[in-house]
Amino acid sequence: MTELVRIAENRQELVLNMGPHHPSTHGVLRFLVHTDGEVMSRAVPEVGYLHRGLEKMAESVNWAGYMPFTDRVNYLEAMFTNQVYAMAVERLLGVEVPERAEFLRVIACELNRLANHFITLGCITMDLGAFTPFVYLLRERETINDLIESLCGNRVTHNYMRIGGVAHDVDDDWLRHLEKFLDHFEPLIEEFRALIVGNEILVRRMAPVAVICAEDAVAWGLVGPNLRASGVDWDVRRDLPYSAYPQVEFSVPLGRDGQGDAQSIAGDCYQRFLVRVEEVRQSCRILRQCLQKLPAGDIKAKVPKLIKPPAAECYAAVEGARGEIGCYVVSDGGPKPYRVKWRTSSFSAMSIIEHISPGLMIADLVAVIATLDVIAPETDR
């Protein structure tokens, strides 16, 4: 008994390096973990290993030429970063994007969201010890990559959008393939739910672990599924409508106490997981409506060959797979951007980890990284 008390009095912290190479960080990212046994007193993220200076590069290429660089902001969300950059420049130029192009952008983005969520959901289960769902979801992602490859020639760095529209049109054959994929995939969501979503072992690793309350989520700038899991009803697609989103119907899933599991609390890891599962279903719904409503017409507005936006600045935002992606562009009237800034969701999600880490177990940190869906290159840019 005295032994135990003595140990409790002289608590000693061990500082542990988790990363930069660690299977659960999915990229190069390091945590300085202060632990006493299995319990952390603090986990400090150290980022910057993948800083490529994408914002500085913008200052040395012309406005249209920056488009392929935007793919590299996040290798899982290339369509969204394409679109938000195009939207920002279009707003400065005052260009109206043709209706068909807007629909094609929505189709491309929702396909991208599906592909991204497959990786995320697969990685969450994989990091928590279930490898099989990851392989199943990766198989489905291959089909999406094939679809996108036949759309624009690239599987990961799409470079599909252009200032004023999109680069390539689709034909009926492609649309039929997309429909066939949806017919095949939608029943699989139910299979995924039945197999893994209610799995007791998985649920106990996530509920109610690392709860982020709504006030904290807003104050730390969490966005997208992470914000909605905390119960904040906000979706850029619905609340600040852009592109063709006002013309399609979809619902915005939210995290709730007890949803899916009696012990789960809004803002915990399990709600972040559930919100993403439901978003997959909503994306399929949007895609089906786009297939029906896709209008005929041009795919690109007329823009001058050498783009010179007037000296002004603007901030555009889209709802990416991880939430709001912002692009702040400043023009001095010249042929090159004066300044481009990326507001990415991983950056703000990463910054909250130090705040929520005290008291969590080391194994919980893996669940936190996985469910916050942080992507190292997106944080570092």
Binding site: A219, Y315, E324, K341
Partner: protein
């Protein structure tokens, strides 16, 4: 609330003249510039005032303006409750840029300020943990400054790729 009304409210509450930039043709976003010494107070007001309630700091960033001898710091604000956006700016002297940290107003600013400190060299007073975030701690200079010169090497590692023919000779 309209952007110009927000600016008028801030001006009245702070008791200083706020520079207002908006294009008459509506190109781009309008923005307000507060003096550096009122930066923290303006942010507190934007967060706390019941007609403003900017609870969400979308982004905090900076732009180097060597011809004006300043570094602009830009906050993109949004209110989830009142659903209005606003762009608030301030300017720091380029030779010795110092501003008050606003990380006590929005915790999200903590990392954004580290990024501005790293890439533009602005010092934030009252920041809990101000150190480089993207570049290594001993990196010379601030890359997003317009007059930045990239060093040739970092601890003996060249920062540019050898040309193809030189590689072939090795």
């Amino acid at each position: 609330m309209e952007a110009v009304e927000i600016k008028n409210l801030l001006q009245q509450q702070l008791g200083v003249d706020i520079e207002w930039c908006s294009d008459e043709n509506g190109v781009g976003d309008p923005f307000a510039v507060v003096p550096a010494e009122k930066w923290l107070e303006a942010c507190r007001l934007a967060r706390g005032h019941e007609q403003l309630q900017f609870d969400y700091l979308r982004a905090l960033t900076g732009t180097d303006r060597p011809e004006q001898e300043v570094i602009e710091v830009v906050a993109h604000l949004f209110s989830y409750r009142l659903r209005h956006p606003f762009v608030l700016k301030t300017r720091a002297q380029r030779t010795q840029p110092v501003l008050d940290s606003i990380s006590a107003v929005w915790p999200a600013a903590e990392w954004y300020e580290r990024e501005i400190f790293d890439l533009l060299g602005v010092d934030f007073r009252g920041h809990r943990d101000l150190r480089r975030i993207m570049m290594p701690d001993d990196w010379p200079g601030h890359p997003l400054r317009k007059d930045y010169q990239q060093p040739d090497d970092y601890h003996g590692i060249p920062t540019s790729r050898p040309r193809a023919e030189e590689q072939a000779n090795d």
